[in-house]
Amino acid sequence: MSDRRLPRLLQTPAVLLLLVWMLVPLSMTLFFSFIRYVLNNTIRPEWTTPSLSNWRGFGNYEFVLNSKDFVLAIQNSLLIVCSILFLTVIFGVLIAVLINKSFPGQGIVRVLLISPFFVMPAVNAVLWINMILDPVLGLQGIAVAGINGIVDNLQTMPVLGGFFSLWPDFAPISFRATQTSAYAVIMMVTWQWTPFAVLIFMTSLQSEDQQQKEAAILDGAGLWSQFRFLTLPHLGRPIAIVVMIQAIFHLSLYAEIEIVSRGNGNKNLPYLIGEFANNNIGAASATGIFAVILANIVAIFLLRMIGKTLME
């Protein structure tokens, strides 16, 4: 196998670089997660330097597990990622199938549809929370006020007024509140990432075999059956790709959460790490290790589920 030696030798720098790249941060995180390490402490100044003498064992992990935000963060991470995946795939498929037919103005519509993807996440969040979802000044506030105005007018009508006076006044929803801020994040990220799904599904639809469609038409398949038995299976692989890429991206959402509610009632793991990292590096590192574990669980789960589709 001596002929293998040269290629191996030539690969070594790249492999070493990759190892250093991954292993150094990971081992540093591991190390920090087992010691007491804070940025600022006037009573115990020795904790402000990372050193083995500050060994805490699993103390940081215990601290994180017992903090009330941790379970919320895990739940929220999963809720946000799963909802966004579900919504973007559904909207993506629907829109892609719709605009795949040729119609006048197709080019413009496609460009417009893709454009949300080019908005920066922070800008996207600011726009949504202030201009669309704001209960007073946003589109939501205006729309709710408008509907209430119409209902008020209808109540003064002679006959049907009695019926409309039974209607309650609609109250706008505040999306910065504890219970709702996660939904605001889901909405804005779905809006931003649906174009990505549309783009990928559209390319795939264009490679769909037209003769198969014609054969199906002759076989008596209606539009729904064609979609169900031909288009949807054809989209299996792109759906898998969209799910995989988005799962990786959305596990690390940060800007949207910061802007919508500063983590009020709505934290995910990266946000929690950020909060700990304001002072307690040890706890932040322990949370980071939890995040790595969660990401790996999700990855294994996805690969199991999706790998099969991709390998076909």
């Binding site: 075999d209 003769q211 198969q212 014609e214 054969a215 199906a216 038409i217 002759l218 076989d219 008596g220 398949a221 059956s225 038995f229 031909l230 299976p233 054809h234 299996g236």
Partner: protein, 334 residues
């Protein structure tokens, strides 16, 4: 059940008319073959019959019922595509059963019909495979199976064998012919391979640029081609044509003689020339003869093995009664 009548049908794509007004009747149980050069509109015509392509004008009737406005699935026709058009995500069983499933037939009935079709096509061992795991010939059979289970009043084939290798093509050709003999269902078969046309057809329809040049049995077309195009298109190797003196002597503008109707004689033939390339097929030898005094090279089909080689002198005697004569418009005389 399956008499198809095309009544003055035309088809235009935008400004270009691909099919000028065309009339054709295909009788019940007939095996009709559309042949013609590439781009002459064979597929378009077939797709119009299937309902996949709208007519620009005219009418199509199946069993005396006008179906011009009837959707494809309600015409009772089954089509086999050149690319097979199998559903890649379904097993062979599901593929064959798909049309029945769309008819909302009971699962037991579907299974029974699929088994029967699979048995008649030697597909029983492959029922649980996906199309991607089959050879070209097997895929073709699945496509045919999917057509058979519907029990259609006519089958439409669009160059179904052109993706297969030569040996397989001969085998499938026989299978389709046998299938026709057994079922006695109308079949319309599109091909640009005139050997397929000659061997399979009850009736050949020769098309050129959307126009029917001639309709007839294979031997009609071989023995009495109505014009130069049909004469040149049917028969292999191609018929020899010549104009000028030789034609005028026989009272025609152009004469044609098939390679197999020219005898090689020791001496005293009508045309004397030199052998060019000799193609040895074993059963026959095709000789390409130059310098006969005619403008064109003459192809001769000599039976068996011929020992002639490049540059040998040769004397040719055409069988006068088998010479085809055509007028200045290219139409047959006599």
């Amino acid at each position: 059940m399956g008499r198809i009548v095309l009544d003055n049908v035309t088809k235009s794509f935008g400004e270009t008319q691909v099919i000028p007004p065309l009339n054709l009747t295909i009788e019940d149980g007939e095996f009709a073959v559309f042949v013609g050069p590439s781009g002459c509109g064979k597929s378009t015509l077939l797709r119009m019959i299937a309902g996949l392509e709208d007519l620009t004008s005219g009418n199509i009737a199946i069993d005396d019922k006008v179906v011009t406005e009837v959707p494809p699935s309600k015409r009772g026709l089954a089509m086999v595509f050149q690319s097979y058009a199998l559903y890649p995500h379904m097993t062979v069983r599901k593929n064959i059963g798909f049309p029945l499933r769309m008819e909302k037939m009971s699962q037991a009935e579907i299974d029974k019909r699929v088994e029967t079709a699979a048995k008649s096509l030697n597909l029983t061992d492959y029922l649980d495979r996906k199309p991607g795991q089959l050879s070209g010939g097997q895929r073709q059979r699945v496509a045919i199976g999917r057509a058979i289970v519907r029990d259609p009043s006519a089958f439409l084939f669009d160059e179904p064998l052109s993706n297969l290798d030569a040996a397989l093509r001969v085998g499938m050709r026989l299978e389709i012919s046998e299938m026709h003999e057994r079922m006695q269902t109308t079949m319309i078969y599109v091909t640009h391979d005139q050997v397929e046309a000659m061997t399979m057809a009850d009736k050949i329809v020769v098309l050129q640029a959307g126009v029917i040049e001639q309709v007839g049995t294979p031997l009609d077309l071989y023995n009495k081609p109505q014009n130069l195009f049909v004469a040149g298109f049917i028969g292999s190797p191609r018929m020899n044509f010549t104009e000028g003196e030789e034609a005028r002597k026989r009272g025609a503008h152009t004469i044609g003689i098939r390679p197999e109707h020219i005898d090689v004689v020791a001496s005293g033939g009508v045309w004397n020339g030199k052998v060019g390339v000799a193609e040895h097929l074993g059963s026959d030898t095709f000789l390409h003869v130059h310098d006969t005094g005619l403008a064109e090279t003459i192809t001769v089909r000599a039976p068996g093995e011929v020992t002639m080689k490049y540059g040998d002198r040769i004397s040719l005697a055409p069988r006068e009664d088998l010479i085809h004569r055509f007028d200045a418009q290219g139409l047959r005389i006599g």
